[in-house]
Amino acid sequence: MRNVSKTYFDAAGTPHVALDGIELEIHENEFFTLLGPSGCGKTTLLRLIGGFEQPTSGSIAIFNEEMAGQPPEQRPVNTVFQHYALFPHLNVRRNIGFSLEMLGRDRAEIADVTDRMLGLVGLDAMADRMPDQLSGGQRQRVALARALAPQPKILLLDEPLSALDLKLRQKMRLELKALQRETGITFVFVTHDQEEALAMSDRIAVLADGRVQQLGTPEEIYDAPANRFVADFIGGSNLLEARVSARGRVRVSDLGELDAETGQVESGKPVTLCIRPEQLVLSASGADGIGPFQVIDRTYLGNAVAFHLKAEGQMVTAHMPRGGARGQLDFQPGDQVYADFEAGALRVLIQ
């Protein structure tokens, strides 16, 4: 799949921009995720690729083949729908074999492929059940098998895990990733769950307001958010208002100055500092870092302790692993603490 670009206007009286000049290139064999909050246009984008809607402008090509005007049944793309859309009047086997039937394959081949798919998703014993006799996880697998049966070049997945409970969701993440590696099919996965996206994807496109906010590997997106939105949306970052004081230095109001990669930003300009909660180091003395912050609250997370800090109207959260590998843990609400940062952990975002 090469060179996808489109703008889509949904006209309901006044034009409403769902997707605004999206430029994306998704590679072969890639687990690609469209991540964003609801209403960001990610599902619309998926529906455009699937052919359920047509772009207002721009074009989509799949393996260098222009898709404009091609109905869904003409595209080498299959979809796993959010609520699975299993055909209620057909059993599991007929559901999975449906596409092959539509393509006019002979019975033997259909039976063969269906059996293989049933094995792939581990539902051999359920072949003759009706969809309403299956659990949520089993339905999910049928939907997956059904979409994979015709061996699409691209598999679209529209929040397929959102209807499952947490435990099952985590299990299915691993299975989906394994399945993608096994089949070598390009997966385009839509989700609003950043954890899900980070866990499975080769690359992620973060979408908001119909635009791509950042495109990159999970590491790039997590460690180097391109803007405030991405930083805030991915992994609950701390955002601190600051000002560039000199080249390579930023000042956080009266709390102190820090070393940071300021790039081309001029002195005196306001910036936003982004720090992950787990990259904060707390200490009682003001030798390093900025402060003082007041400890507002502490919560046990199991493997870590979260401290909620406040100073000069700015809120900061720090996650300290238990076992004391990184600083002290014995702060109580009301204590004064100073915060330091691991080298390179601080990101400077231009406002």
């Binding site: 052919g51 869904p72 299959n78 729908f81 209620p88 539509m102």
Partner: protein
């Protein structure tokens, strides 16, 4: 005591309402039951029971006029309800699944036959056929019935389609089904209970009609209700009772079928 007080204040149990419900059911069934009872009378009287016999049913089955009329009624009902069901299904697909201008107008026209008094429909249809010089016969009855059967077939089909997930059709398209194929293999089977109840409803409504058929039926195209009506000129005879009882039985069976069907699909 407190419990009694509670019950006394519970407006779910109002005194006399249960009795009234029983009265309503008696009111609804007594005449029909009485008619059926007398259809088994061995004597000629319709006010005095002489004994049990099937002689009037035998008379009905031997009556050529009744046979012809019954056959006409069935022919009209089968054709009219089938055609109306096909048209109503197409109309429901458009009004539920598609976006287009003038949908309100389309609804208005489809439901229009429900709003016109039957007698008006009857004479308007008669005047129409007379004006265009179309000879009255079974064909005119069928056409008139198709018209008023359409909204009756449309309502259950539309309801069923509206409750069906449109995503299923998209899933079928996604799985390489062309639009017609997606309709045949996915939409139609899922829609079937609605289509069947629509058809049954139209069928019963067609069989029920008297005044429209009476106006537009040509010679030899008499339907069963029209024929029974003409039998009434001689007063209510045991034969009228017998053929009426047969119609009661027929409609009861149809209602039962549709009730069973709707229960099956509700789960």
């Amino acid at each position: 005591m407190a419990l009694l007080d509670r019950r006394d204040k519970d407006i779910r149990n109002l005194p006399g309402f249960g009795t009234m419900a029983v009265v309503a059911v008696v009111f609804l069934y007594a005449p029909i039951a009485f008619l059926t009872l007398y259809s088994f009378n061995s004597g000629r009287s319709i006010s005095q029971l002489d004994g049990f016999s099937l002689r009037w049913y035998k008379a009905v089955f031997a009556n050529e006029g009744i046979q012809t009329a019954a056959l006409n009624s069935l022919t009209v009902a089968v054709i009219a309800s089938s055609v109306a069901t096909v048209l109503a299904t197409a109309a429901a697909m458009a009004t539920v699944r598609l976006r287009f201008r003038g949908k309100e107008v389309a609804y208005g026209i489809i439901n229009f036959p429900l709003m016109v008094p039957e007698i008006v429909t009857a004479i308007a249809t008669l005047i129409f056929f007379a004006t265009i010089g179309f000879r009255l016969g079974l064909m005119t009855v069928i056409v008139a019935h198709i018209v008023f059967c359409i909204p009756f077939a449309y309502l259950p089909i539309r309801a069923r389609l509206a409750s069906m997930d449109a995503g299923l059709e998209q899933a079928a398209r996604d799985l390489f089904a062309r639009p017609m194929m997606a309709f045949r293999r996915i939409t139609l089977p899922i829609l079937m209970p609605g289509i069947i109840s629509g058809w049954l409803l139209a069928f019963i409504i067609s069989l029920d009609d008297f005044i429209i058929s009476a106006m537009v039926a040509g010679p030899g195209a008499t339907t069963l209700p029209v024929h029974i009506y003409s039998m009434l000129r001689l007063g209510i005879t045991p034969e009228v009772n017998a053929v009426s009882s047969l119609m009661i039985a027929a409609s009861s069976i149809l209602v039962l079928i549709s009730a069973v069907l709707s229960r099956k699909t509700k789960t």
